[in-house]
Assembly symmetry: C2
Homo-oligomer: 160 residues x 2
């Protein structure tokens, strides 16, 4: 029932705790992990115009360059995580996209026909996240499949 | 890794979807389910004084009687669910308590040494719940173990 799992990561501590759990799901029958990072387009919207203001290139070009650079960085990090998963005996598929995290996570869960999403209890929260509620909470509300939420161990029990 | 699971239920549709999932976890290695219902003391606080106002018994006695009746009702419902779980090949332990649901769920998870909590994405929400956020969200923040959240199938995809 866990053959194909979606593991979205924003590279936070919380996502790291979820990664350790994903590896252990091998013993519960997991075979393949769809490894996803969504570069949050809302973060860049808050600052790309500033960067564009002191560059001589057209603003759209500046934005495009930033996104390309960030996606490249994310891809590098994902490759490291992919290796860990493979060493744990799991097959992997790697996806990096730009967008609104909870929307892309729900979309990939549907498109990739996974049976479970495993994610951290809270990610790196930007301004928009604090207003709208965490990505995890929104995924929970809209996911077509169950969501397994993992809290990092280093947080105090009973804490916020 | 899922040998002993905590399944808290408020008897909502959402909890019903989680129940179906718990049964299936048998194939992933689940052996025993701690079946918990928390009678929400905050709900009764909102109306027991009204009921007391037209009865001749002392108010505390009225409150006690209501809680006793509600716990008895809950116990009856839990026995039905227990039977379903046993038919699915799972051992069970049944707990009914009065309290604040998220607090009791986290407490039982610790006391009973479970490795996973499986629950619905949203329960029957009273006034207090709407102010403070759902029980599921609060359990997620304070649970000592991962929380597997199941959304009922009849909700529209992409809905709230």
């Amino acid at each position: 029932m866990f053959k194909r799992i979606l593991y979205p990561t924003d590279f936070s501590n919380s996502a790291g705790a979820a990664l350790e759990y994903v590896k252990k799901l091998r013993e519960a029958g997991a075979e393949e992990v769809v490894l996803l990072h969504v570069y949050d387009e809302r973060n860049i919207d808050l600052y790309w115009e500033i960067e564009a203001s002191y560059k001589e290139e057209p603003p759209e070009q500046v934005k495009h360059e930033i996104v390309k650079k960030m996606l490249g960085k994310s891809y590098g990090k994902l490759k490291g995580i992919e290796k860990e998963l493979q060493q744990a005996g799991l097959k992997t598929k790697l996806i990096v996209v730009e967008g609104v995290p909870y929307e892309e996570i729900v979309k990939v869960a549907k498109d990739e026909n996974v049976s479970l999403i495993v994610m951290g209890s809270h990610g790196e929260r930007g301004f928009v996240e604090r207003l709208l509620g965490s990505t995890t909470a929104r995924v929970m509300r809209e996911s077509p499949v169950p969501v397994l939420v993992v809290r990092p161990k280093d947080r105090k029990e009973g804490g916020r």
